[in-house]
């Protein structure tokens, strides 16, 4: 069975992500005869953003457990080389000078060990002025995944742009999404964007006091400490935050993402950053 994977040639992450959701849904629906292979045809893809590569690779690795998949790579050489370098879709052990390829881990893996490994590699590459900020973000986001998402597969990638001194960190889990967690725990919200906003403000589904700081402090650190930008997508909600506008935009997507994506871009601080200021 052939599945033509059409991805818009754009730098607009939300546009590409909606294309990816279509492809992910098609992969989920694929019913194959015994021994049949699903061919994912990326041959006409002109450009794939890192967040799209992250989402699709997570779905492919998840689907590989139940069906046989073959990839027809993009014809465009630059795109093919980029995807190979970042370990699309199965991940890769070889790291580059400025990036860590896609890393996948499942709910059966030791999440702490996986994140620790990633953190160690990133620490060797990025500007020292980041201090422990990247560790802090990886810790809070991976902890949320482990504690709340009921994921089976999660994926992380990072890219460091040494000339511009900024870093991209993307983390995606295929769990039950923020709005669904809230629904299960009886937290009220008007729509999926509102659910994400509530999570970013520190709404917790845990009964103990002093919980729910993960996304809230991560947001504070990215926007205030690192002059960064943050995309949070979960189910139909998409929130984009940046340091200038605080909330740059929110959008309800036409199709639901089966999982939660947090994608961040932030710059190296001018002097060494002390993350304690942002901890609550």
């Amino acid at each position: 069975m052939n599945l033509k994977c059409n991805i818009s040639n754009t730098d607009d992450p939300l546009k590409q992500i909606q294309d990816c959701i279509d492809i992910m849904n098609e992969i989920d629906k694929a019913e194959l005869e015994k021994g049949e292979i699903l061919n994912l045809d990326f041959s006409d893809v002109e450009w794939m953003l890192p967040c799209s590569a992250l989402l699709l690779s997570n779905k492919i690795i998840e689907a590989c457990r139940r069906i046989n998949i073959k990839i027809s790579p993009p014809n465009k050489r630059g795109v093919y080389e980029y995807l190979t370098r970042i370990g699309f879709p199965l991940g890769c052990e070889v790291e580059g000078e400025s990036f860590l390829p896609i890393n996948h881990f499942s709910n059966k893996d030791n999440v702490n060990e996986q994140i620790s490994k990633i953190s160690k590699h990133i620490g060797n590459k990025v500007d020292k002025n980041f201090g422990f900020s990247v560790n802090y973000l990886l810790a809070e986001l991976s902890d949320n995944i482990e504690q709340h998402s009921q994921f089976t597969q999660a994926s992380i990638m990072t890219q460091y742009y040494s000339d511009k001194k900024y870093i991209d960190v993307g983390i995606f889990d295929n769990g039950i999404t923020i709005p669904t967690v809230f629904e299960k725990k009886g937290v009220q919200f008007s729509d999926d964007c509102d659910a994400i906003k509530k999570a970013l403000e520190g709404e917790s589904t845990k009964e103990e006091q002093g919980r729910g700081f993960g996304l809230r402090t991560s947001k504070k650190l990215v926007l205030e400490g690192l002059d960064g930008e943050m995309y949070v997508l979960s189910r139909e909600g998409a929130i984009i935050l940046n340091s200038k506008d605080k909330e740059k935009s929110q959008e309800l997507m036409k199709k639901a993402l089966k999982g939660t994506l947090v994608y961040m871009r932030f710059s190296a601080p001018k002097k060494s950053l002390n993350i304690i200021k942002y901890v609550e």
Partner: protein, 107 residues
């Protein structure tokens, strides 16, 4: 007199500790130790996440064991202090009458 048990966090969990579940499992092991006094050695531990520290502080405040923590790096110590302050403001902490870090004695 019963001797205190010394436990190296680095040997058990490594130099970076990220997820709350990891810390919960570790502290559950500590709870099961037969010794009433335990020395937790933070030597070589470079980073502990906020959620792990949160778990750790709550444990220290509620355990019946006598816990002594040693060799914390300044970064780890500051994280403990920040989490304690957060819990104090929520009136969860029992140590809000003391401006010292209850775990290491630092101001």
């Amino acid at each position: 007199m019963e001797k205190a048990r010394k436990v190296s966090i680095f040997e058990k969990l490594g130099e970076r500790i990220f997820t709350r579940i990891t810390m919960q499992d570790f502290l559950s092991e500590i709870s099961k130790l037969k010794e009433k006094e335990v020395i937790l050695d933070f030597n070589k531990v470079k980073f502990i996440s906020r959620s792990c520290i949160d778990e750790y502080v709550r444990f220290i405040q509620n355990t019946e064991k006598k816990i002594k923590s040693i060799n914390q790096s300044p970064d780890v110590c500051m994280m403990i202090k920040a989490v304690e302050n957060g819990l104090d403001s929520l009136s969860v902490s029992k140590t809000n009458n003391n401006s010292k870090c209850v775990l290491c004695g630092n101001q």
